[in-house]
């Protein structure tokens, strides 16, 4: 039978626990009982039973007398303020928006799909393939792939495109360019706009202002004929 004694006096004395610990692990025993250094949110234990009872009353099935309440009733019970705000919409739509919506959709050619147009059931045919055949098919695929790879490696030399081009005569190359209408330039200057940036002297000055003079000098030595002009 339960005795009714409390939790604390049912437990062993901490001194006994420490004495035992000193015998097993002296270092740990001498340190005393070190409490877990974790934090918990403020007021957690004060609120826990309320939150728990709320969950028990309202949340899941099987907890005795659970009332079936509608959403407005529920929110009114939890928070009358939120219940009052429930039907107040901050957002507005242009006058006649919803009336014109159906017409707009039809004008753009997108006809709303009627539910009645959806077939209620689609007959499907179930095909069963014996597992043994699936295994054979998989094995055949693997053998096929190995065979094709081996054939390609032994019968086809991989051509180097650059070396290949050295054997093409100039005439053939010219014919190819004429026949295939290959263009190397564009008549439309706007096509090149993305690759052209006009920079003024001030822009260049701004861009190079953070570059140390020593680096600019080193750069100018590398390009003796194109000295950067920075004022």
């Amino acid at each position: 039978m339960i005795t009714g004694r409390g939790l604390i006096d049912a437990m062993e004395s901490p001194n006994e626990i420490l004495t035992e610990l000193l015998e097993i692990a002296p270092f740990l025993g001498r340190a005393g009982v070190l409490r877990a250094p974790y934090d918990i949110p403020m007021g957690y234990f004060e609120d826990f039973s309320d939150i728990l009872m709320y969950r028990i009353r309202f949340e899941a099935d099987g907890f005795g007398e659970i009332k079936s309440v509608s959403s407005p009733e529920e929110i009114a019970e939890i928070s009358p303020l939120l219940a009052e705000l429930k039907n107040k919409n901050l957002y507005q739509v242009p006058a006649g928006y919803f009336e014109s919506l159906n017409t707009d959709v039809q004008l753009t050619g997108v006809v709303p799909l009627k539910l009645s147009a959806i077939p209620q059931s689609v007959k499907t045919k179930k095909i069963s393939i014996p597992m043994r055949i699936v295994r054979y098919a998989a094995a055949a695929c693997i053998v096929g792939m190995i065979g094709i790879t081996t054939f390609n490696l032994t019968h086809h030399k991989v051509l180097d495109p650059i070396n290949g081009l050295t054997t093409v005569s100039d005439q053939d190359m010219a014919n190819y360019l004429d026949v295939d209408d290959v263009h190397w330039t564009t008549d439309n200057p706007s096509d090149l706009q993305t690759s052209t940036v006009d920079l003024s002297d001030n822009d260049i000055h701004d861009l190079l202002s953070s570059v140390p003079d020593v680096e600019l000098e080193q750069y100018s030595l590398l390009l003796p004929e194109q000295k950067p002009s920075v004022n």
């Binding site: 039978m1 339960i2 005795t3 009714g4 004694r5 409390g6 939790l7 049912a10 437990m11 062993e12 004395s13 901490p14 626990i17 610990l21 097993i24 692990a25 002296p26 270092f27 740990l28 340190a31 009982v33 070190l34 409490r35 877990a36 250094p37 974790y38 934090d39 918990i40 949110p41 957690y44 234990f45 826990f48 039973s49 939150i51 728990l52 009872m53 969950r55 028990i56 899941a60 099987g62 907890f63």
Partner: protein, 183 residues
Amino acid sequence: MAEQRTDTELLALFREPATKEKAFTEIVKKYQERLYWHIRRMLVDHEDSNDVMQNVFIRVWNALSGFREDAQLYTWLYRIATNECLTFIEQQKKKATTSLSDVESGLSNKIRADKDFDAKKLEWKLQLAIQQLPEKQRVVFSLRYYDDMPYEEMSRVLDTSAGALKASYHHAAKKIEDFILNH
């Protein structure tokens, strides 16, 4: 401050429909801190611990009317809490499709990620050391070291003989001391 009711009194009140919720709330308030810390030391993370705490007490709510009074109420509560913790860890393992050792290293990482973590402080080293133990040994160490639970009560919580639990606790304490001294 009103004197706390005994478990026997609370159970009698729980059986009366008029006082059922009040009695249950008192039981929750009486045991919540002990159970929370037992769970938290196992799971490290507060949010996980809170979820498990709620599940524990919902189980208690459902089963308390059938509770046989041949055991201590707190033993029964610890048993439910321990089982819920182990179930939670098992679910984490399945979700992550990882091994138990990955889950344990995940718990160690959670300890290291705590905003107050200080690797030099003994109490943090102790938490890391506890996470190195197999989960059953972790429970045994926690129940004895932190909750001062006698081996006889522990054997009711864990369905294991008191002798085996004593051996397990000794083994765990030695391993923890080795970890602390070598890290």
